[in-house]
């Protein structure tokens, strides 16, 4: 009989303890980020989709069209197209196609790049109306991205 009452009491007490915890949190400030209103900055190492880096001297890309990124990519989402430039020894990048629908953001391409020509963007607000919207030409993006 004592045990029975004790059990009831301890059980009920545990319930009240639970209520006490939740009401304490009820009065604490919220911890969520109101996402579209507030935007958190991404950490420096955040791996977004890749982006061509700007060469500070020429203002263009640094790509040497070696195709290492293309080879390193596990999902075959990179296509690098280069043109032979008259006079110059190296090829110049004409198009850098990233099929973002296939990309798994693993970062192997950035690691494999011998010229540091690609880097991760910090852009995570990606939305588009169609699949085609995710086939990026990074060269074009670089040109559009001023500064």
């Amino acid at each position: 009989m004592i045990g029975y009452l004790k059990e009831i009491f301890s059980g009920t007490w545990s319930l009240f303890v639970g209520l006490g915890i939740t009401i304490k949190y009820f009065f604490k400030p919220v911890v969520t980020v109101q996402y579209p209103r507030e935007v958190l900055p991404m950490t420096p190492r955040f791996r977004g989709h890749i982006e061509l880096t700007r060469d500070p001297e020429t203002g263009g890309d640094k790509c040497i069209v070696c195709g290492m990124c293309q080879k390193a990519c596990p999902s075959n989402c990179i296509t690098v197209v280069g043109d032979k430039v008259e006079g110059a020894k190296k090829k110049a990048l004409s198009r850098y196609i990233l099929d973002f629908t296939k990309c798994s953001l693993c970062g192997l391409c950035v690691e494999s790049c011998p010229a540091d020509a690609i880097t991760f963007s910090k852009d995570y607000n990606l939305a588009g109306p169609s699949r085609e919207a995710y086939i990026f030409d990074l060269k074009k993006r670089l040109e559009e991205r001023k500064g």
């Binding site: 545990s14 319930l15 639970g18 190492r45 596990p74 798994s104 953001l105 693993c106 970062g107």
Partner: protein
């Protein structure tokens, strides 16, 4: 048909639990033969998100397979990375700098805590309590922030490389990790007061959902499921890898074998993982984080190699068969939950539906890892 099934009336009906069901946490389907609310037979039906990782491995280079490993168990991705890099390093004979191993252990253990926290929340959600899930998420976010600042990703890290780690930790990481541990130490008693000691939860977990040690052995259960049945088996102690022998930690073992035992094992493991992280941070040596001589193009010697790591869900074994080329000849991924789930059919016979769901939750299923 089990003995239980035969003693019952043949008034059974079939329920399809899933593939879309709130309690299966993914696309798992369980075909239940029920007598009223009692389960007569249960047959998990797998393969709804089967992606054939093993074949993918045969079609890409050793390094290219790395992102796949984190995508199997997205909750404890770093352990999977760890298992894969270690087996390939073993095959190729790459020495890893000590600092890299320490960083691997620290991040993997933090990841284990995050996995257990998510499990804790999801498990209580299975039992009908929603709030603990969000409290656990609050804590888990802190870990994910830490890991993101180091690895650049929040879920599928692909952080480890053959011969080290991709990037050294930044200066904020160590204070951040210590602050997080302090915070979680303060929060854990709250979890216990809110959930563990709650009389409703206790009636739902205690003495229900028994898994015997013999069943574990026959089905190959590992991890918290086995430890909840009194089996002192943890790959980190049993078959030490990386720098785990350097650390002083306990393996929580609960002999009872009910759902509560598995719950307690995981809750205690959070504390043990925090201990490991603290010790590793204290001992963290200086030095490079990448082996200097790590080859760019890997061609491990012919032969087959096996390596197992302890993930949050049990022993993840990976067998690679190399033919000496730059692609694996065969990759076998032995996922712990596959074995753990296989005993569900036997364990839940004669149970009530809500108890069976509690049992299923206590197995800590991650469906992509089962289906691979």
């Amino acid at each position: 048909m089990s003995a239980f099934a035969q003693t019952q009336l043949k008034e059974t009906f079939v329920i399809n639990l899933g593939p879309q069901h709130p309690a299966t946490h993914g696309v798992l389907r369980v075909k239940l033969v029920m007598d009223g609310e009692y389960i007569v037979e249960a047959e998990p039906v797998l393969g709804y998100i089967h992606r054939m990782h093993e074949k993918m491995g045969e079609n890409r280079t050793w390094a290219q397979f790395m992102p796949n490993t984190g995508r199997m168990d997205y909750l404890h991705a770093l352990a999977y990375n760890h298992g894969y890099v270690t087996v390939v390093e073993r095959a190729a004979g790459i020495e890893v700098p000590e600092r890299a191993e320490y960083i691997r252990v620290i991040t993997a253990e933090l990841n284990r805590i995050s996995s257990h926290l998510l499990w804790f929340g999801a498990f209580v959600l299975d039992l009908g309590g929603f709030t603990p899930l969000l409290y656990a998420f609050d804590d888990r976010e802190q870990i994910l922030d830490l890991l993101e600042s180091v690895t650049g990703s929040r879920l599928t890290y692909s952080y480890f490389r053959f011969g080290g780690v991709y990037n050294d930790i930044d200066e904020n990481f160590v204070p951040g990790a210590l602050a997080f541990i302090k915070r979680l130490r303060e929060r854990l008693p709250m979890y216990h007061a809110l959930v563990t000691k709650n009389v409703i939860l206790r009636t739902r977990l205690e003495d229900i959902g028994f898994i015997t040690p013999e069943m574990c052995r026959k089905y190959g259960a590992t991890g918290p499921v086995a430890r909840g049945s009194g089996i002192n088996f943890d790959v980190r102690k049993h078959e030490p890898y990386s720098v785990y022998p350097e650390f002083n930690f306990d393996i929580p073992v609960y002999p009872k074998g009910d759902s509560m035992a598995r719950y307690m094992v995981r809750m205690d493991e959070i504390e043990q993982s925090m201990r490991i992280v603290e010790q590793a941070i204290a001992k963290l040596p200086d030095g490079p984080v990448m082996a200097p001589k790590a080859p760019k193009i890997l061609k491990p010697a012919k032969g087959d190699y096996y390596h197992a790591v302890e993930t949050a869900r049990g022993s993840f074994g990976i067998r690679v068969v190399s033919d000496g080329t730059n692609t694996p000849y065969r990759l076998k991924l032995r996922s712990p939950t596959f074995s753990n789930l296989s005993l569900f059919g036997e364990a839940c016979q004669g149970m009530l539906l809500p108890d069976a769901l509690a049992l299923m939750g206590s197995l800590d299923l991650v469906i992509p890892e089962i289906d691979r």
